[in-house]
């Protein structure tokens, strides 16, 4: 279900995605296994991401990767994919689909709006498109995916209520 918040120059939509958190070196059998499942090779540079119409694949650190399924999969299909990945003993794939919440931010004032909640530098010379960042927003750990015209921001589900209240409060003020 999508829930939206909007204000002057800012539009926020909550999205339901599935997510797999991967650990591994990213090369050799890791890349082979993942590519076999999602038809994408892992990005080489830290904090870079690649995507196709089905997936968004980001390198979060030297051995940590985030895979977001942009089109929802059946539980069984997702489970099968994770099991296949985990059959490779050089990687760990953990299902994080329900432990995260996802918000899409857009609008011409989205950077100003977000800077009411975080010190993060959103200028494109510092945070170019198709990169990600992990930082505090409204004092909670979040991951930001720069999708050029919008940002996808995720945080732990347990903060969902607090985070939404802060988003709304920031719009109201």
């Amino acid at each position: 279900m999508t829930r939206t918040f909007s204000g002057d120059g800012i539009y926020i939509a909550q999205r339901d995605f599935q997510q797999i958190l991967l650990r591994g070196k990213g090369d050799g059998r890791f890349a082979e296994t993942v590519n076999g499942e999602i038809s994408l090779l892992p990005p080489k540079d830290n904090l870079r991401m690649i995507s196709n119409e089905n997936y968004l694949f980001a390198k979060q650190s030297f051995d940590q990767w985030s895979l977001i399924c942009l089109k929802n999969k059946e539980e069984e299909a997702l489970s099968r994919m994770i099991n296949t990945m985990n059959s490779n003993d050089e990687l760990l794939a953990s299902d994080c689909s329900y432990g995260q919440v996802y918000f899409e931010f857009s609008g011409d004032k989205m950077k100003d709006y977000l800077n009411k909640l975080t010190h993060f530098d959103f200028r494109s010379k510092k945070f170019p498109p198709l990169t990600i960042a992990q930082t505090l927003i409204a004092r909670i750990d979040c991951t930001i995916y720069n999708l050029e015209d919008k940002y996808l921001i995720t945080c732990n589900k347990s903060y969902e209520d607090y985070f939404k209240k802060r988003l709304q409060d920031t719009i109201d003020l």
């Binding site: 329900y98 993060f120 589900k157 802060r166």
Partner: protein
């Protein structure tokens, strides 16, 4: 009421002001000059300045925010505003506190330090309460719910000050690829161009036209942002600055919108173009209402169209007052006199010509001896060059003692300043950070030089071009000044004073006395006299104090040095600092997927880290916590209970070397453990002390899932990561936190198996098929659940792990299937009681970072044959294995009707003397204590010295009313020690 008219109240009387007026300009418009009483002596005080540097005109705004100590010279009026004067009773005109002025001869420097020393006991019982009652100015708000917000900026260049220099810098940077933020304190750009009559034209245009065009150009530049009504308050390391924006300028604060915004700015370069502050001069009664800084007088006329007085006397030691003189003459307001300390030869020709042409009484090489009057100036005494005193009847005196570059922010940035003998002030010498100063803040008081300075200092920036500017000024371009800090006075009254700090009521005599008493270092002197320690930080007077001190010490001002300029530049409201981190947003909150159900069922919540956990559930409105906990725990033992354990940390561990990794992280051995089985495990720090505990589930040798304590989840994961990445990079092992991916329910009690068999009717929960400490994953409806047989209550129990999306539905189904089984939801307090009955520890309650597994009698959890694990080596240290360490025991009161208090001391001696004059031998402390409804008496766990040896003996526990109760030391397992119920 016309569009431009605004009405407000001051001390109960209604006044009219113009839109855009400050409280001060509106009061002056109504010829109100007495606005407050001074801090210490309650002397009548007026409006001294026209800006942020104001030391006197502090007032209280009466509204929801009840804002005290507001500078009347800064705060704009709004319709219906209610303003009160401060620090007076019963009224501003008749203030009983002014008795302090009569007693002032005894209130010399250091009065408090010298007077309130004794007799013993007087400080606490008399002096402090009395001083606290009389100290302070305004009244803070009682109920105040701020909506202040924070806003972060990441930019390339910050320009502080939207005056001439700042605007030129911004103009130069317009259209470049630099992100520029221009901050202006006032509600309009222009600075000196708006405040004074000094500049006649810019580029052959009226200054207002040039300003309008320039502002338009800047607004159309995509790379430049302008913030008005914003004051930069702090300049930190790494070019990080903070600024306060007042969003309620000229309007009543709206409690639905933020009234203040704290801007946090991170910039590559900072351009300080924040101008200068005029300083005053010390003379007899220089605090009387009617004395005002000359530039401020000019600013009231220029910016607010208010002439504070038609015929003031002007007193100066420098050339800057020419513009005021000309302005007054242009407006047909002839000054009563012009008093100049300088020699006739040093005074500019333009000034002399004007004075002569308009026949204005002129006193060169003269000074003001003093002022007289009760609540305002009546007479001004001039000491002429022939040392003759001439009295002039006048009600206002405009004073200029020179110009100080506003170096506060520059010095906060750790930039170095240097005394300039020519302009008699400190000016920036060397930047410590990437800081550029422009205009008068850099000591450049000559307009025609500013453009060259801007071009020269900013040409290092890529993409900028030289700009040109033609400035025509009124009067001479040169700045000329004569040194004077205080005038000679005929001190013929004990109550006449020559002030050096108006806000803190410090006189020049106090400085002399302080030096006489040995406080000859400027930082010591400042603290002894409280000079420049008010909220204005002595903006108009601190340099004067240095001047006077240098004369007294017969040193140069350079040798005396400056005091430290500390942030913030001006007072910052606590609400602005807190921002939205107040009330409902004080701390981020974490909720489990079952939270709405808990609320519906009257849960009272406990904060565990940021988690909201049900503490207990109220069955009826008046049920106390104790009653609820007794009921819940009894019901768990009698039938079954369910706990929302979703907050438990969960970590997935996988890799070829996962088994070795887990063996190293925990004390237990996992090598022989069967797949799909689980083990209660203990994690130590390198010091051998218990760090965390949890259950390790082994899927296979390469794949584990572990649980952690709720509060320790993040620490345990980072502890594991640290060792995986830095100590054992050779191990092929990866970790992921899956805490949020699973909600967890703990169902326990004799009927738990019945309930689960109904919910998951295709699973065999028999002891044979599903023994204790085993787990499995099952398909349930269209998702997977993992069920582990484990218990923290000592009852038959299960933990269910389910994705949060399905958690609430499953939770409710469990209750649906338990309608006839009397399943009770229980909170953390009942969990604590139930585990204590079994003697299970809680990390953080029975441990405090100094407790080893041996102290807890958990030796059985240490894999004796393991070659290594974190903390192993420390467990063999002599101090760890010595016999007299504190060990975990159980305590039961000898008289079962007594309760034992948690946290109390455990002692050997039953007698506590009424007067404790020597340490009482302490055996240890009570770590947990509860009343057990199952056993019908109190039970406690305690860490006591040689605890194991004391089992069976009688010792004592102190009580909060200085008594002791006798207790028996028992093994820390009070209920079902054979684990029959657990394994049933």
């Amino acid at each position: 009421m016309t569009d431009n008219k605004i009405y407000f109240k001051f001390d109960g009387k209604r006044y009219g002001g113009n839109k855009g007026d400050t409280i001060a300009s509106a009061l002056l418009r109504n010829n109100v000059k007495l606005v407050g009483r001074s801090f210490k002596y309650h002397r009548p005080r007026g409006i001294y300045t026209c800006g942020i540097e104001e030391p006197n005109a502090l007032v209280q705004i009466i509204n929801e925010y009840n804002e005290p100590n507001v500078r009347a010279t800064v705060k704009k009026i709004y319709e219906g505003m209610v303003v009160k004067s401060q620090n007076r009773w019963p009224s501003l005109k008749t203030d009983f506190g002014s008795v302090n002025n009569l007693l002032s001869p005894i209130f010399s420097a250091g009065f408090y330090y010298k007077t309130f020393m004794g007799p013993k006991g007087f400080w606490k019982n008399l002096y402090e309460p009395l001083i606290r009652r009389t100290a302070g100015l305004g009244k803070p708000p009682r109920e105040f719910k701020s909506k202040s917000t924070h806003l972060h900026h990441n930019i390339d260049i910050l320009i502080v000050g939207g005056g001439l220099s700042g605007l030129l810098a911004a103009k130069k940077l317009a259209g470049t690829d630099k992100d520029v933020l221009l901050i202006e304190r006032e509600n309009e750009l222009g600075g000196i161009l708006k405040n004074s009559n000094k500049v006649k034209s810019v580029n052959d245009q009226k200054t207002s036209e040039w300003l309008e065009k320039t502002e338009r150009l800047l607004k159309n530049s995509a790379n430049i942002k302008i913030l008005k009504n914003t004051t930069v308050t702090t300049y930190n390391y790494s070019n990080h600055l903070t600024a306060i924006e007042d969003r309620s300028v000229g309007i009543e604060p709206d409690n639905k919108k933020s009234e203040l915004v704290l801007h946090k700015i991170r910039t590559e370069n900072t351009i300080l173009a924040n101008g200068h502050i005029e300083r005053f001069l010390s003379f007899r009664n220089n605090d009387l209402p009617g004395v005002m800084l000359a530039a401020s007088f000019e600013k009231y006329i220029q910016r607010y169209d208010v002439v504070p007085d038609n015929n003031p006397v002007i007193f100066t030691n420098n050339s800057s007052t020419f513009s005021l003189l000309k302005l007054l003459i242009d407006r047909k307001s002839m000054p009563k006199a012009y008093v100049d300390v300088r020699d006739l030869k040093k005074i500019e020709k333009e000034t002399l010509d004007l004075l002569e042409a308009y026949n204005i009484p002129f006193y060169p090489k003269s000074e003001i001896e003093g002022c007289d009057g009760n609540s305002g100036i009546k007479n001004i005494s001039v000491r002429t060059k022939k040392n003759k005193i001439i009295k002039i009847k006048a009600s206002m005196l405009c004073v200029s003692g020179g110009i100080n570059p506003d170096i506060h922010l520059f010095t906060q940035s750790k930039g170095l300043v240097k005394w300039d003998e020519k302009i008699l002030t400190f000016k920036p010498e060397k930047s410590f950070q990437k800081t550029i100063t422009l205009g008068s803040v850099s000591g450049n008081f000559i307009f025609k030089d500013i453009i060259d300075e801007v071009n020269k200092k900013l040409n290092f920036i890529d993409g900028v071009n030289d700009i040109d500017l033609k400035i025509e000024v009124n009067g001479s371009e040169e700045f000329n000044i004569k040194e004077i800090w205080e005038t000679k006075n005929n001190n013929n009254s004990l109550w006449s004073k020559s002030f050096i700090d108006l806000q803190n009521d410090v006189t020049t005599k106090d400085l002399t006395q302080a030096i006489r008493e040995g406080f000859d270092r400027i930082e010591h002197l400042k603290r002894f006299t409280t000079n420049s320690m008010g909220t204005d930080q002595g903006k108009i007077s601190s340099i004067n104090a240095l001047g006077i001190v240098s004369k007294l010490l017969k040193k140069s001002v350079s040798e005396v040095g400056t005091t430290t300029y500390r942030p913030p530049y001006n007072p910052v409201s606590f609400s602005a600092i807190a921002g939205r981190s107040t009330y409902e947003f004080y701390d981020p909150e974490r909720k489990t997927p079952i939270h709405p159900w808990h609320i519906k069922h009257n849960a009272v919540f406990e904060d565990v880290g940021q988690w909201k956990r049900p503490w207990y559930y109220k069955k009826y409105e008046n049920e106390t916590m104790n009653e609820a906990v007794q009921r819940e725990s009894k019901q768990v033992r009698d039938s079954a209970g369910i706990l929302d354990g979703s907050t438990l940390g969960k970590i997935e561990i996988k890799g070829k070397d996962a088994l070795e990794f887990v063996n190293m992280m925990y004390t237990n051995s996992f090598t022989k453990m069967k797949p799909m089985s689980a083990k209660y495990a203990l994690m130590l720090g390198e010091d051998g002390m218990v760090k965390d505990d949890g259950i390790v589930c082994k899927i296979n040798d390469n794949h584990f899932i572990t649980t952690t304590t709720s509060g320790g989840a993040a620490n345990v994961l980072s502890h594991m990561e640290e060792f995986a990445q830095t100590e054992w990079p050779n191990l092929n092992v990866y970790l992921n936190s899956i805490t949020e991916q699973f909600a967890t329910f703990n169902i326990s009690g004799p009927k738990s198996r019945i309930i689960l068999s109904r919910v998951f009717n295709n699973i065999d929960f028999s002891n044979h098929k599903f023994p204790y400490m085993t787990f499995n994953t099952f398909d349930y409806l269209n998702y997977k659940v993992r069920i582990l047989r484990a218990s923290f209550t000592g009852e038959q129990g299960y933990e269910i792990y389910v994705p949060p999306k399905y958690a609430l539905t499953l939770w409710e189904r469990i209750f649906y299937y338990s309608r006839d089984v009397d399943l009770v939801p229980y909170g953390t307090e009942t969990m604590h009681l139930l585990r204590a009955e079994k003697g299970y520890i809680i990390v953080g309650q029975e441990t405090d970072g100094t407790v080893t597994p041996l102290d807890l009698n958990l030796n059985w959890m240490i894999g004796k044959k393991k070659k290594d694990f974190i903390g192993k080596r420390s467990l063999t240290r002599s101090d760890i294995i010595k016999g007299d360490r504190k060990q975990l025991v159980g305590l039961v009161p000898v008289d079962k009707s007594y309760g034992i208090e948690e946290g109390q001391h455990v002692i050997e001696d039953k007698n506590i003397p009424s007067q404790i004059d020597k340490p009482i031998k302490m055996l240890g402390q009570v770590t947990s204590s509860y009343f057990s409804p199952t056993l019908n008496h109190s039970i406690a766990m305690a860490l006591i010295k040689e605890g194991n040896r004391k089992i069976g003996s009688q010792i004592y526990v102190s009580t909060s009313n200085m008594n002791v109760i006798p207790v028996e030391v028992v093994k820390p397992s009070f209920f079902d020690p054979e684990n029959k119920r657990l394994l049933s």
